[in-house]
Amino acid sequence: MEILTSLGLGFSVAVQPLHLALLLFGCFAGTLIGAMPGLGPVNGVAILIPLTFAFGFDATASLILLSAVYFGCMYGGRISSILLNIPGDEPAVMTTLDGYPMAQKGQAANALAISGVASFVGATVAIVGLTLFAPLLARAAIYFGPADYFALYVMAFATIGGLAGVDPRKTLLSALIGLMIATIGLDPATGIPRYTGGSFDLYDGIDPIVALVGLFAISELMFLLEKTIKDRDTAIKLDTWIPDLKVVFGTGWATVRGSVVGFVAGVLPGAGASLGAVMSYSIEKQVSNKNGSFGKGDPKGVAAPEAGNNSASAGALIPMLSLGVPGSGTTAVMLAMLISLNVQPGPLLFERQPDLVWGLVASLYMANVMLLVLNLPLIGLFTRLMAVPTWALMPLVVAISFIGVYSISNSTFDLYIMIAFGVLGYVLRKLDITLVPLVLGLLLGADMENNLRRALSISGGDYGVLIASWISIALYIATAAFLALSVWLALRDKKRAADAS
């Protein structure tokens, strides 16, 4: 009952004209950003954050806009996967496996419709999960003390890189680099300037938003310049958008399985949408690949990963909202925006700003319906817009990033910081060091230090307080288990690669 009342409040927030307009714009822009090769949810959302500041939106409106873009990207990513065989964003990689072969067989309309419906079901399952579980998790998290939060942050840094075959040392290093950058500026407790090199511009520290735009938008430009720019890939033409309903509904169970698997992957810290898509595809393959049709255009191979990545991306909002610890790269970027607007996600958010939390949840229900409507009949429009060449698109993206960053403080100093982070991001990505832990370190560093401070001042300087509660002990054990598992997986992959060569 309580949840229904909260949802009612949410819908009353969500139907305000400004919020509705932002929702519709976000869904449209998100689908487009997701469909453009090279632009995905992380850089799309990062670029839009300074703009929401420029427009002067409050936290609720900004969060609604960014979530709509985030969801839209998840829908849009599949369009270029299916028609171009180029994933629009990372989670859409799995969709190319069966989506493109389907399109080659002349079933592009079916593939697009299946992925659209699967996205809808996946996201809906996850939003219902968000509605039910996020408040519960928030209620449990109220019992967390400072030492427990410190342990939670340690766990977040250790796990955010995910299990997907990356060297765990590089992930941890990335988080530590982020924490180092976070300590630049005046120490909040003692007022001593740290690592500023005497520059007053650095006394406030590095604005995470400026760093983010550099890390994601500028480094993407560098990556683009490194690749050969081929003549435009020719997209498979779409004669009709009207799908064969029998084929679409034949994938029902694959969609349901994908949604559930994706949701679990999304809620787990650090997994995010990519892992959700990979896991749902491989599980579906084991369940229904009876005659080896997977990889050759099996509709179920389109439905499962699409349901999975949409469900995971909504699931990733749960730890972000209720613990303040994001479950994926894009939610980390959204967290940066909330912190910049002085909204601290976490258990208290549900009590202090129910209109923000529930307004967001209600908006997500509505965004999902809007996206389904946008993505079925209007699919032809998106496929045409997708054909804008990269050389025309990327410079505009760069210009928008610059204006957005400049508008935050009206200083060119931030522009240099942004460019520097762009180069740093490019080099780290080349070294296979993922940027998401770095962002998380940069965002949560101050809070982590504060919680350590609080814990130690309660105990009078005794470090034993850090492992004095069962919550923190459990979190450290989970962290250790996760790290052991990822080291084991990394070693196994290495051995396999050695065997294969």
Binding site: D167, T412, K430
Partner: protein, 144 residues
């Protein structure tokens, strides 16, 4: 090799970071002080970087000469933009950076310039006229 070099670089930065932290002292109040947390971060970073030097993982292929040149040109355009934004004013500098980046991305020259002009004017209208951000039309060079 690149991984080893990066490991060395990160090790040195982390060592300098942890070393510098020792100088941060506050005589009052706080139990933790300003130096403990940076040391807690710096030392594991040193250890991990060192492990990358000893056991490097993965390999890196850097872009070849012409590509590297393109990247350098794009970076130069971005830095020039940051330098020239205030002297030249928003529309002129933005049109130039859009056109430059488009050309580095192999866009045809005339079309790139046209996109630069169109893009910069529409962004100026959006940000200055509609949103009321204080962006000067003419820069300090022209007395704007």
């Amino acid at each position: 090799m690149s991984i080893r070099l990066a490991g060395v670089a990160i090790f040195l930065v982390a060592a300098l970071y942890a070393w510098t932290a020792q100088d941060y002292t506050a005589s009052f109040g706080d139990v933790l002080g300003p130096s403990v947390f940076p040391v807690m971060v710096g030392i594991p970073a040193m250890a991990l970087a060192l492990s990358l030097v000893v056991f490097p993982g993965g390999s890196v292929s850097w872009p070849s000469g012409p590509r590297l040149l393109r990247q350098a040109m794009a970076l130069a355009a971005l830095i020039a933009y940051a330098l020239l934004l205030e002297p030249l004013g928003f529309p002129l500098a933005t049109a130039a950076v859009i056109a430059a980046v488009a050309m580095v991305l192999d866009g045809p020259a005339i079309k790139s310039v046209l996109i630069g002009i169109a893009g910069s004017l529409s962004l100026w209208v959006l940000f200055d006229q509609l949103l009321g951000l204080p962006i000067d039309f003419l820069g300090t060079l022209f007395g704007g």
